[in-house]
Symmetry: C2
Subunit: 691 residues, 2 copies
Amino acid sequence: MTLSLSRRALLFLGLGATLTLPVLADEGMWTFDNPPRQRLKEAYGFEPSQEWLDKVRLASVRFMDGGSGSFVSKDGLMITNHHVGLGCIQNISTPENDYVANGYYAGAREKEPACPGYEVNVLMSTEEVTATVLGAVKPEMTDQAAREARKGATARIENECATASGLRCNVVSLYQGSEYHLYRYQKYTDVRLVFAPEQQIAFYGGDPDNFTFPRHDLDVAIFRAYEAGKPVIPPAYLTWSRQGAGDGELVFVSGNPGSTSRLSTVAQLELLRDLVLPANLEFLKRRLALLHAYSARGQEQARRAKATIFGLENGQKALKGRLEALLDAKAMARKAADERALRDKVTADAALAKSLGDPWATVAAAQKKAASRFKESRFVGFGGSRLLGIAGQIVVYVDEVKKPNETRFEEFVDANLPSLTNRLYSKAPIFDDLEEATLTDQLQYALEGLGKDHPFVKAALGGKTAAEVAKDAIAGTKLKDVAERKALVEGGTAAVAASTDPMIVVARKLEPLAREIRKWSEDEVQAPTTRAGEKLAQARWKTQGKTVNPDATFTLRLSYGVVKGYPAEGTEVAPRTTLHGLYDRSASWGFKGPWALPQRWLDKKPALNLETPLNFVSTADIIGGNSGSPTLNKQGEFVGIIFDGNIQSLALDYFYTEDQARAVSVDSRGIIEALRKVYDAPALADELTGK
Amino acid sequence: MTLSLSRRALLFLGLGATLTLPVLADEGMWTFDNPPRQRLKEAYGFEPSQEWLDKVRLASVRFMDGGSGSFVSKDGLMITNHHVGLGCIQNISTPENDYVANGYYAGAREKEPACPGYEVNVLMSTEEVTATVLGAVKPEMTDQAAREARKGATARIENECATASGLRCNVVSLYQGSEYHLYRYQKYTDVRLVFAPEQQIAFYGGDPDNFTFPRHDLDVAIFRAYEAGKPVIPPAYLTWSRQGAGDGELVFVSGNPGSTSRLSTVAQLELLRDLVLPANLEFLKRRLALLHAYSARGQEQARRAKATIFGLENGQKALKGRLEALLDAKAMARKAADERALRDKVTADAALAKSLGDPWATVAAAQKKAASRFKESRFVGFGGSRLLGIAGQIVVYVDEVKKPNETRFEEFVDANLPSLTNRLYSKAPIFDDLEEATLTDQLQYALEGLGKDHPFVKAALGGKTAAEVAKDAIAGTKLKDVAERKALVEGGTAAVAASTDPMIVVARKLEPLAREIRKWSEDEVQAPTTRAGEKLAQARWKTQGKTVNPDATFTLRLSYGVVKGYPAEGTEVAPRTTLHGLYDRSASWGFKGPWALPQRWLDKKPALNLETPLNFVSTADIIGGNSGSPTLNKQGEFVGIIFDGNIQSLALDYFYTEDQARAVSVDSRGIIEALRKVYDAPALADELTGK
């Protein structure tokens, strides 16, 4: 559930407002068609022009595997986080050239290698389509019928748009389903790597320092978008600031926050606290133990598992923080009191109460249902192996695309198919031994969790051991070959039904069970929750006015805040770190472990201006998906790049406070200092700074 | 109560064990006659020889105004904290030469200036005298009679010892009054300043960074002891370590922890929580506001108030931390459970129960009594002004010394008189305007707190305003002249009774009231608490064995621990900081405020090895009074000097855990690097390192 967007989405957790509070000072992830003009003017005397807004929007990019970024040169350079680009860096690495460990700098355009399966989007325009979407829903419809009606209307709008514009078109549900907007994206799928530092400096401090501040990470990677073999001339790009951002300075973050839980009911939070988060943590613990054991087999195995371990450890720390927040009895009591207050207001308004019914009870009932089959929902599916995931996607694909758009699973509707196939046909390497280890564990885990008599376990194992099934399927499958995947997809139902590929055979056996539980969950849990959510939104808007921005939806938003330290551990945490701090932390730990420095950083130290800022914090409101978002000043210049939130922000996914939660950026000055003095990349630094 | 020892004592707060737990790994402030040989051997394979113990003991010094230190050269150099030596540094400063702000380096022995009122002690030998002291107490005696019997026996032992040895002799009560030991001290009263850095670097980070880690303070001051105009040849001195202490290394702390509350009952902690600490915090807030307003009058005023503000802010932060600890309902519940468990054990042993009675009830009743007159005990006395304090001491002195030793107030018994007069006759400067401001406020505060009809308020104000009384008394008094004080003391009761000095007149009026409340408190609160404490100690020893070390008594103790980081803020705090960290913190705050650097440190940066360790943490068990204690390695070499505990140690005055609480030292390597490269003091560095 919390792992749904992508592991990267976990990097940022929401700064939540409680139900009855108005939006706080720097709170809010605002859509570009409705920026917080009034609040910016009142609090900071700043009024962004339409031109300013358009330029920032058009310079912002979304990385489809869960991050954000921006164009930063007229020749299509894009900057994002190293951890957003890690998949690519790992995929173009080989045992001989480990660019994750050693970093990468192409040095010349013709040498820039393509990233398999990458896609970035630029939001070209938006248009409200609420009337059309909600007009398709009749009051007498069941929850399920209402959902299909909305989906049908949405798909029609998307298809018409795509045909007319040639763009990627998505209808986005905002304000808990009370508004629908059509988003049109320019899409780039030829994304090439230009520069990446060593992971050791990008993720400096490793798992211990993750989600913390003070911090010393050069968490950046630089890509270039291409079209027809040539660098893209982007619709807009950001000017690089040589001054960075000063203390108390107003800054903006333009990016794609993934999802927030700010409007969740107590029943939803309790399910998370009591069932979902503990189960996810149990899974992460188990899988990490397995991966560490796999890594211990040798250097090459360690290299193969590195990106996955990185993601899972990151998730583990984030989930622990969230669970701790929910275990805070006082905070939960406040949340409950807020909810009661809203319910009381609704009850006090007879007409409103009649029109809304009791959406809280509906949500609570849906959570109870979810709990009743929670164990199955954890195991039934195509998890544990990339190859099984691919096989499962193919098997479902050929069935889904035959249906009308509105009855398909979300990722198979026409508007999403190009992205799906882009990933399905990715040439990213797959390692048999790693696949075998994780798939064996996943099947064994399901056996332990569901018991040997559960239909899923029977279907998956067929009387064999988990290890046997995994070994046979991986040894025999041809799905590592992208052409094989294409042939099956293009061959449709018949080809899939006839396939003797052992992984497809397994996926075929599992497919009805996976479909059943997913359909059940969508009908019995999600559909009523969504419709109740619309009513909760109404309750909120009608009693409190439209004082808040919509929950995050992995679409483009503008946040703002100020560069500002915060109190912690009895003192004041400074708003930034410098290169001095990097060397201090390393020396303090004896240059060892997660605080070891790449050799290059030791060698080049005398050349560096050690007072150069490296990372800084601001009060901007961010969450998972914002990774790689540019941090901008009032002139719309690039002053830094978001890469994390501090540990305090973990507690705030559900309970908002601005006291300590901070967004963490790499400073634009630190990036240039490193490119020039550590990486001998003056040409790249010049291109970024427009010199 | 918590302010009783001295403001410096607040720098360290106890790492307390709960009642029913055995002593934990590195817990304990051990007397030198009973070092934890067994534990050191088992945990660290180390067995200190008697020679090792004697050398460390004889090289350790106690600064009588509340700190510790050590001899570090054969020519009598002593090192302690800057904040322990601050009184001297301030006192030898003038408006033209502000050594607190600018630092001080004598450069040659003949230039080393004397510190007014200073006294340091070296513990030459100890001897158990329990039989004699407790033999004087008969079971049928009242609590008050028992106290006088103990005091009488104690005074006789001390006087005999002083006469025989010429040393300072004190009987120390250990293990909650179940053991008494005679401590013999060599005393040095000619203490001269050799070196002090700027307070800005000694107390780098100011109030915000106080009680925190990571930390970057050069909190040292170097003195030399003289006798008969010549440098003292100390009984022993510590060799300076050039290697410092490594990660996980066993280290020792030899110093004078002031007091611990590890054996306090729940009733005592509740009184602290509900009455004492909130009142002290209210006072500190008020007095600090006054002093800040006074400082704002001008640069010279700011200079005059600096040391006092430093002390009060320090106290404020410490008390806030303690209060927070006591407000932790869970921790208090644990404490209560521990206490119940001990009571149950006593109840289960009929003979023991009969012999002990119910000491918990006795303590609780005494706390109730204390609460009944708590407000008076806050105001009735000679507080608010140094001159009034001196006047009060003189007035009481001439009465007290006429009595037999055992019936005098503690500080007036023969053994303590030399120290008392050393301080009473101190030439430390007194500033009229500052005196007037604080005395006015103190009298006004008493008026507000007690009401205009309270006898103390009537006696103090006599119908005038607080401002009038303060102004007249300070303008008219001659007590700034040390000779005047001596004349009154030597003139005895008659001279004091005849004095028309207006401050003496005020003190005479207040004296009966101050005496009454103090006597009442000693008889009604302290005497029964002390006797019940002995019984609580017996309950503990008899049911659990003598598994713990005695509570701290501002006498010499040996602690031990390892150099070790700790988890905080989601990551691992490194065990040390380096000079890189100092410059990082300063640059991160724009070289401003508490993080500004002295000009010398900016100028000399290029000369420094920035990877030199500056501060480090260890698990050694310390508390207020340990300020300036040497940190030693297994070879007994000086590897650092204690100057603080981290913020987590504040919560542990009452509830022990080793998870995060740490003692903070300045690293021996950082001191030498600074002396050589920043302060151009190679001769001093050579003397310290024995080069």
